[in-house]
Amino acid sequence: MAETTITHAAPFARYSLRARTPQALEQVTGLKLPRKINNARGDVICLGPDEWLALLPDGAKLNMGDGLPVSIADISYRQIGIVIEGPRAVELIAAGCPLDVARIPVGYATRTIFELVEIILWRQAETRIHIEVWRSFAPWLCEALQRSSVD
């Protein structure tokens, strides 16, 4: 059986995008934003009614919209990405996440928790889940995922 791997994702330019409307952010950044909460479109996730997370290629720069009623913040170094890939990907996350992970469709992405640690979970394929986690929680989370993979 193919192995399930837990690896660090490549570095991203991460931007937190906040505004009352997605149109305001699209005008400033030129990005296309998903409209449905808890869904990803391209490399942008809609986390809430006024909040998006963009995971852009490392080094990408966005127009910050100075003076406009938008909040665009570079959070590249606040969190890291962890990729879980393989036939047991869902099972490893389900060990600590209270969502019904097996029923989450591909393209679904949401903020949630793993045990007591807040994460962003993005199902990129049937057997591939991308996790974003704040740096200080990452060593614990990696350890917990490793342990659930040998259980």
Binding site: I37, P49, L99, R111
Partner: protein
């Protein structure tokens, strides 16, 4: 584990993604300096604390991040409904 319907995500989500935030529909006084101590005490500290149907605020803090309102029975602990902040009392 409870599942709570978040009116913004429009999904039932596990209770440990949520935080309780006290009684709902308590408006902050528009002109605080016009209040005497008694009114201020009542605004800050006095709550209905009913046995039964209770209107309360919740926040989907480990989810979409939004505050919303809920009607919950304090005896059975069952949620009757949830609705977006700013919508009229149910």
């Amino acid at each position: 584990m409870f599942l709570i319907h978040c009116p913004y995500c429009d999904e039932k989500r596990p209770e440990n993604e949520f935080a309780y935030a006290g009684e709902a529909h308590i408006a902050r006084p528009a002109d605080p300096s016009a209040l005497d101590d008694k009114d201020w005490e009542s605004y800050l500290y006095i709550r209905a604390n009913p046995r039964g149907r209770h209107h309360e605020r919740w926040r989907h803090i480990h989810g979409c991040g939004r505050f919303f309102n809920a009607v919950r029975d304090t005896v059975s602990d069952k949620f009757e409904s949830t609705y977006k902040a700013g919508e009229p009392r149910k």
